[in-house]
Symmetry: C2
Subunit: 531 residues, 2 copies
């Protein structure tokens, strides 16, 4: 009989001999019998080695930095605990986690249709065992229908490992979405369902980076996952700067110069990371900029990693063009010039109006890769078996939400629009606040979930920061946290032009009171440190 | 206004200039307008580089092998497709996936209580918005109560990123389980909730391996995740052999010799992997063996990685002793000799009677590590944000199932016992079959989900394998697959003493017909190849 964790032990365990007494003696009495146990090896132990210290740790891991969960967010955790344990001991009664794009931590409600389907995927018995009239008190009919379809695609249970690339039927749904979005065909064979976009980035960079001789072009400022993953892979980051004055635009000529410099110094540029819409900048690339980037990719054989996880987070005075769409147009309009481009495009259920960060859903589309290379990506994915199957299902819901005429369509649209409006309202309000204040300026938001304002800090503040041994933007963010409970991330965590100072804040936190309290803090800070 | 993927575009997109025509022209007509688009960089493109080939791939990734999803399982996928597309074209009508411990792929039903709780976590509105009498037609009252508790611990939504170590309240539940299991205290600070045990292995080896100068002791045969992860980390595997004749026992003296050889050849043994209960062997370590292993860990300062994911899969003539329990006893009975031992113990929701592979739940407990080292593990975990929150919740259900007196207790026990009995029955039947046949022998199963029988292949079969360019065990497994649809993994994928041949099979597939068809295949194989 196979034993389970909570079924009483068999009497036959007595067979285990001398150890049995010591082990169960302890268990039964709860105190220590100090019984000596003989064993062959025991006598050999004369010295014991010291425990591991930081000097024993992989230096690549030690060096990796990830500011989004760095010292300021860690201090915020301490303050959160203090609020719980000693209410009233701080000048604020809650922490505003504006450091991370985590909408549901900040009371954003999940979309009802998504959750009804996921609920049924976990408990499919409800569909067959409960009368329909009862079932429909909890679930909309189209959610029931969708859950049945997804379950059939997944082979009957979300508890089984899927294909390492993800459930085939789910990948077909993703391919249909891309086909419709771009007006260009996509194939399920090229889709990898991944545990969020982060897992995809790890996969790509592991396959394509060989060590210090491999270079990866990274926008500055950037989402620090990229530099952290490169640090872990011991490969070379090749930073290219986004131009703040022109709305954080990308300059292909600058990128080409960096490529040439890298080549002449013995580093092979392997990948070019583009975050569009931008994190932390919120900027959106124009088709011209994308063409420039793809031109460099074609000329130098560089793989483009298009981090397009914010493709739904686009304000309505701009248009998002997917990298693949532009690539396909170029391949037709300029025959032969772009045929060799290899592109990995990433998407995620964590962002957009979905905001389902904890569900770990995402996908990567490989475009233009040879089959033998795709097999390498697949092998690497197979070592970690598969991504969470409910997260895979959620990806299909994100790319194929209820359609007009379906039962849940109107409610789903209402919920989406409400989330989008609230985000828009707060982004605008926050941006106006920054623009109205002394010593802070901010590019107009175009998309994503972030603002990345620039701080012009007075000399006294710079001196104070130096005295405290931190960077000026760290100093500002720390003071902001301690005074208001608003947790942000210093620009230094993302990279910035030397001598400039920024911070990244989300505009996800509900209400606008926190924006007012930030405004008050900023005025007080300047009153204290004005030269 | 923030725009979502499925809301019509604004007229203002016209601003995008020349690109707008080309892009929307394509979209509207579905055909290609062949419109030339000017851009600064376009003129620069004179040559295009070649696409990447295998020579451009990280050789560490190329070299990594993972046989559980290797060529034989891949051939099984092809055959599965053939059965769908041309029913009746093969001598069998389904594939038996005995290559991977994936119970729910093979019709094992999930435990009802788990799934009810997970279903409510996805749709908590049901609890507040539906009359109790309706709710209780779908959910047991203790499932409702548990879901409420877990949701409160998770901060209200499973859609938010959790702490990178996992939800604190969930970790406390895991610590309580370990405390009860071992009769020794455990702390939530030492628990990391991970996406299955595989993610934990990647985390530990990334932190502790620096390159070829770091050695990791790996049992042979082993679960190939370990060699694959070491290959990716460019670190050195130090194989130690399990002794088949004595039921795949572990010999600490042999391990110590390997440690000394490694040190004298300039490799520092950093970690020692123990898989208990064994995969693929199904063997269970005695406390004496564990003491021997811990003695070496203490003497040489080696971290023990205790892969204990099969701790629930234990047949009732043996006892499972956790590595930590034995360590704590030794620390009390032999003061000073084991104080420095550092241990990482892994568990998973994929195995046991849970079998929830697709949900990606697991935990790692760090024992004896310094706080500064634990911070490094945390930083690395934070780069991938957090493991899936529903998987984290499932870990708490696994370690804290319904208790006696609770509503779901009896049904839960019935379900657990039924799964355990069925596994036991098939393990016994499969083992008897192997023992009754010519040219195959198998150690008596003690636990886990696998048998690892030894094949004594006749010379003609060895010659045939050589002729086909595969190893003899690959040849047997291929022939078995092509004749019966039973998919297994050759012993060469796990490592084996040179000149011996094995295969790994799970005993998860339902029914016993497939066992009879294997028996018939084996007799035919020997009739064909007998010398």
């Amino acid at each position: 009989m196979l034993r389970t964790a909570h079924i009483a032990k068999s009497a036959r365990q007595m067979r285990c001999g001398s150890w049995y007494g010591a082990l169960t003696g302890l268990r039964a009495s709860g105190s220590h019998p100090y019984r000596f146990i003989t064993s062959q090896t025991a006598t050999k132990i004369s010295t014991t080695a010291k425990r591991l210290g930081l000097e024993d740790v992989n230096p690549l891991v030690l060096d990796a930095k990830y500011a989004v969960r760095g010292p300021i967010p860690q201090r915020a955790e301490e303050l959160k605990l203090q609020i719980e344990q000693k209410p009233g001991s701080l000048p604020f009664d809650r922490i505003i986690n504006a450091n991370i794009g985590n909408p549901q931590q900040l009371d954003q409600r999940p979309l009802t249709f998504y959750r009804q389907v996921l609920s049924l995927l976990q408990n499919p018995e409800a569909i067959t065992k409960v009368p329909e009239s009862t079932l429909l008190q909890l679930y909309s009919p189209d959610a029931v229908h969708r859950a049945q379809k997804l379950l059939a695609q997944a082979g009957g249970s979300v508890g089984a490992y899927s294909h390492s690339q993800g459930v085939r039927g789910f990948r077909e749904t993703v391919a249909d979405f891309i086909t419709q979005r771009d007006g260009e065909p996509a194939s399920a064979d090229d889709i990898f369902l991944t545990g969020g976009a982060s897992a995809a980035v790890t996969n790509i960079l592991s396959v394509l980076c060989k060590g210090p001789e491999s270079g990866v072009l990274i926008p500055i400022p950037q989402y620090p996952l990229y530099t952290a993953t490169l640090a872990l892979n011991n490969s070379t980051a090749l930073p290219y700067y986004l131009d703040e004055k022109s709305g954080w635009s990308t300059d292909p000529e600058q990128i080409e110069e960096i490529v040439q410099q890298a080549i002449s110094s013995g580093v092979k540029p392997t990948c070019l990371v583009v975050i569009n819409p931008g994190n932390p900048t919120g900027a959106i690339l124009t088709p011209d900029s994308i063409e420039g980037i793809l031109g460099i990719a074609a000329k130098y054989g560089i793989v483009v990693i298009a981090d397009e996880v914010y493709q739904e987070n686009v304000f309505d005075n701009v248009e998002f063009f997917s990298m693949k769409k532009v690539l396909r147009v170029l391949q037709k309009t300029k025959p032969g010039q772009f045929d060799n481009v290899q592109l990995a495009s990433l998407h995620s259920t964590s962002k957009g109006v979905s905001g389902e960060c904890g569900q770990r859903g995402g996908y990567m589309e490989l475009v233009g890769f040879s089959d033998e290379l795709r097999q390498v990506f697949l092998k690497l994915a197979s070592i970690s078996l598969c991504s969470v199957v409910t997260g895979q299902a959620l990806v299909t819901l994100m790319v194929n939400p209820p359609k007009k005429g379906e039962f849940s369509f109107e409610q789903d649209q209402r919920e989406r629009n409400a989330i989008a409006s609230a985000l828009n309202e707060r982004a605008t309000k926050l941006h106006s606040m920054f623009e109205s204040l002394e010593g802070i300026s901010c590019q107009k938001p175009q998309g994503a979930m972030y603002l990345f304002p620039k701080l012009e800090l007075p000399k006294k503040a710079l001196d104070k920061a130096r005295e405290l041994g931190c960077t000026p933007d760290e100093f500002y963010c720390k003071e902001l946290l301690e005074a208001t409970g608003i947790c942000t991330v210093p620009g230094s965590g993302f990279g910035q032009v030397a001598g400039t100072h920024h911070l990244r804040t989300t505009f996800l936190a509900p209400g606008t009171d926190w924006i007012s309290s930030w405004e008050k803090f900023h005025r007080d800070f300047y009153d204290t440190y004005r030269d």
